[in-house]
């Protein structure tokens, strides 16, 4: 009971922290826009959007909005540059971290992270290939997404062919298929034109949210929601999975099927995140552990906690990435800078192991 209350308070705290961070992030940026103006622009946009939605029903709604007292650049900064980027970093952080938490539960392995089944390697290959073929940004994202799913599907297929312990073979198959695809990525880099394609591939692989657009947010949110929702609904069953298959059966839970669904969903959201952001490591490994420290091992609270924490963490790191220097630092580099030391601390700490 006591623990329940603590967990709920921690969740509320995380939610509040995320809200504050979103607000603060909206104010941060290299282009000077007064905070009051930002809010006016936001309000205007919301009103105008609502107006255009309602215009068939309410006469005159199309003209809703505030009087314009800002210039085009400010509007572009607030609405086309900052807001989509904030949303995208929240989504990506949320997905990667909850995917990591789910994989850790399903595989019973604290070292599991979203790329354990090769999803990121596949996405990297898909993106490199698309860049090599001269595709535009949208196609690069799509190709990354498809190859990511394909990689995990291949790993799944291979593990079905092999006998033995299903979970172990799946992880091994994931590692193998993933390394196959990363070899493919290396080959693509080798044949890419070093004056324009190679830097583009390298930059993509580093992971960055720069250039986030509404289009990307709209595209990514569908598979993300499709994966996140089942994970939220099934979160207590993940608890049962951690007890072992036999125990699960006695509780009336089909462990195999739940595992399949969780893996499917986690893969979907990982693929969607990596496809829009590139390779961002560590979030999926570190944030679930941090969330565990906060709310404990119970997935009923761990899943939402990982979501909120992941979103907040990614948003904060992205704020650093876009504000620290005039030239952007790819976020994939920054998360590793934060993630690696933390992990070293985690494994060298005495007492309470995972």
């Amino acid at each position: 009971m006591e623990e329940n209350r603590r967990g709920r308070i921690a969740l509320l705290g995380l939610g509040a922290a995320l809200l504050v961070l979103v607000f603060v992030s909206f104010l941060l940026g290299r282009y000077p826009v007064p905070p009051g103006m930002l809010l006016r622009i936001l309000l205007h946009k919301l009103l105008a959007g609502l107006g255009s939605l309602l215009s068939p029903l309410v006469p005159g709604a199309a003209g809703w909005g505030l009087g314009q007292s800002w210039d085009g650049s400010m509007e572009a900064v607030a609405w086309n540059i900052r807001l989509p980027r904030i949303l995208l970093s929240c989504l990506v952080g949320c997905c990667l971290s909850v995917a990591g938490a789910s994989y850790q539960g399903v595989f019973q392995n604290p070292m599991a992270s979203p790329d354990i089944l090769g999803a990121t390697n596949g996405a990297a290959f898909g993106a490199s290939l698309a860049i090599l073929l001269g595709a535009a940004s949208q196609m690069i994202t799509l190709s990354a997404f498809c190859f990511s799913i394909l990689t995990v599907a291949a790993a799944f297929f291979v593990s079905r062919l092999a006998g033995g312990k299903r979970v172990l073979t799946l992880v091994l198959a994931g590692i193998m298929v993933g390394s196959l695809f990363s070899a493919g990525t290396s080959f693509v880099k080798l044949v890419a034109d070093p004056s324009n394609q190679l830097p583009e591939i390298t930059y993509w692989l580093m992971g960055s949210l720069s250039g986030a657009k509404w289009k990307q947010v709209g595209l990514a949110v569908i598979p993300m929601a499709a994966g996140l929702l089942p994970l939220l609904l099934l979160r207590w069953r993940v608890n049962v999975l951690t007890l072992g298959d036999d125990e699960a059966r006695t509780m009336g839970v089909n462990a195999g099927r739940i595992r399949l669904i969780v893996i499917l969903c986690a893969t979907l959201i990982t693929a969607a995140s990596v496809a829009v952001s590139g390779m961002i490591g560590w979030v999926g490994l570190v944030i679930p552990h941090l969330s565990r420290k906060l709310v404990g091992n119970d997935y009923r609270r761990l899943t939402p906690a990982s979501m909120l924490f992941g979103a907040a963490f990614m948003l904060a790191v992205d704020d650093v990435s876009r504000n620290l220097l005039t030239v952007e630092i790819p976020i994939g580099i920054l998360t590793a800078f934060v993630g690696a030391p933390f992990f070293i601390w985690l494994i060298t700490r005495k007492g309470d192991a995972f």
Partner: protein, 388 residues
């Protein structure tokens, strides 16, 4: 319990299908869907995303600067027609190639550069150009170019000069829509440099200066061809070697081979010439077989070591001292990056290989080039350091 998990599974499939449908069609119409499914995972985002998709296209057209006196429409080399201020006074660039070209034509219009200049350029360039703020480079639609920094620098247009990528129109359209600043593409390669300058001159209202640069490019190329015609049968059999060990070669007929192919017989005739700036990998045995009359090494390669290297001594050209290192300052004259400084490489190598036919004063030519393209006058010391 069972029904719930099945329900969840169904949901996954439905939405996955939805993704497929959405990815195919255009985005705005079908993007209302996510708003409803999104609520549980992100309490912080409140109402914002609901309106988002409907807005994507609209915002940038509306706030056309009321203060701007007049605009002209311009069709760039990617076939996109854009509205531009009649007089462009502040421009930005997307990458190193654009940077060199625009800098040579209109340095005073640049609000920033994509990459910091090579430190070697500090001694040559006017400090006010050398210390232009670094805005970062774009790679496709993404990049280290922080869009807010770009907007804060206040350019009226952003220029992308160079070889067109397949995706250039879509990438630049996206950026134009997002920032409200027109992003333009102008085609350019060594062969079409003159044309590119004229296009840019027309765009920036600097026709006269552009004509000067364009005709320099054409004249130099024509002069080189005339010299080679005079040389006739006596074309030198040459190799251009690069890489740490000097074991990479620029193949005949490749994109980077234009200059080498012009100034002599490029012996490196390969089945698969690489279009990369690092050329094709080769080995010492192959180089011995080619047995060139003259070798040009890229800067930073093995040129200063081959003199007392027993393996390289096997080569006739090395034994006879018929090799040279390509000059560097502020860029590699032989052409990486492949930009206008290649004309310097042509002038230098012709003088070196055919001193009789190339009857110009190299020093004077180089000085003229630096004045035209880099806006600086070359001192004796600087010239001596570059051309050894």
């Amino acid at each position: 319990m069972k029904t719930r998990s099945i329900l969840a599974l169904l949901l996954v499939f439905c939405l996955a299908l939805g993704l497929g449908a959405c990815a195919k069609g255009a985005q705005p119409a079908s993007t209302q869907q996510p708003a409803s499914t999104k609520a549980p995972e992100a309490p912080a985002e409140t109402a914002a995303p609901t309106e988002a998709p409907a807005e994507t296209a609209a915002p940038t057209e509306a706030p056309a600067e009321p203060a701007a006196p007049e605009t002209v429409s311009f069709t760039d080399d990617a076939g996109r027609t854009l509205e531009l201020p009649a007089k462009l006074e502040r421009i930005a660039v997307t990458g190193p190639m654009s940077q060199i070209v625009v800098f040579s034509l209109a340095p005073e219009l640049l609000v920033g550069v994509a990459n910091a200049w090579d430190p070697g350029a500090e001694g040559y360039f006017d400090p006010r150009y050398y210390s232009l703020p670094v805005l970062g480079q774009l790679y496709g639609g993404k990049g280290e170019l922080n869009l807010e920094v770009l907007l804060a620098a206040g350019p009226q247009a952003v220029l992308d000069v160079g070889e067109a990528k397949k995706s250039v129109a879509e990438d630049l359209d996206g950026l134009t829509a997002q920032t409200g600043i027109p992003f333009l593409h102008i085609d350019a390669s060594t062969g079409t440099m003159a044309e590119a300058y004229r296009r840019l001159g027309g765009l920036l209202g600097l026709e006269e200066r552009a004509e000067e640069l364009a005709s320099y490019c054409e004249e130099t190329w024509a002069r080189a061809e005339a010299i080679m015609a005079a040389v006739g049968e006596d074309r030198a059999r040459i190799l251009y070697l690069l890489g740490e060990e000097g074991l990479n070669v620029i193949a005949a007929g490749s994109y980077h081979g234009e200059v080498v192919d012009l100034i002599g017989d490029n012996l490196a005739v390969l089945d698969e010439p690489s279009s990369k700036g690092t050329g094709n990998e080769t080995d010492m045995e192959q180089i011995l077989l080619w047995d060139p009359d003259f070798i040009i090494f890229a800067n930073g390669s093995v040129a200063d070591r081959v003199g007392d290297d027993p393996v390289w001594q096997q080569l006739r050209a090395v034994r006879e001292g018929r090799y040279a290192e390509a000059p560097f300052g502020p860029f590699n004259w032989m052409g990486f990056p492949p930009s206008v400084q290649r004309y310097l490489g042509i002038l230098w190598s012709l003088k070196l290989l055919y001193p009789e036919q190339a009857d110009y004063d190299l020093r004077a030519e180089v000085e003229r080039y630096f004045e035209l393209f880099y806006h600086c006058s070359l001192t004796d010391e600087q010239y001596g350091a570059i051309v050894k």
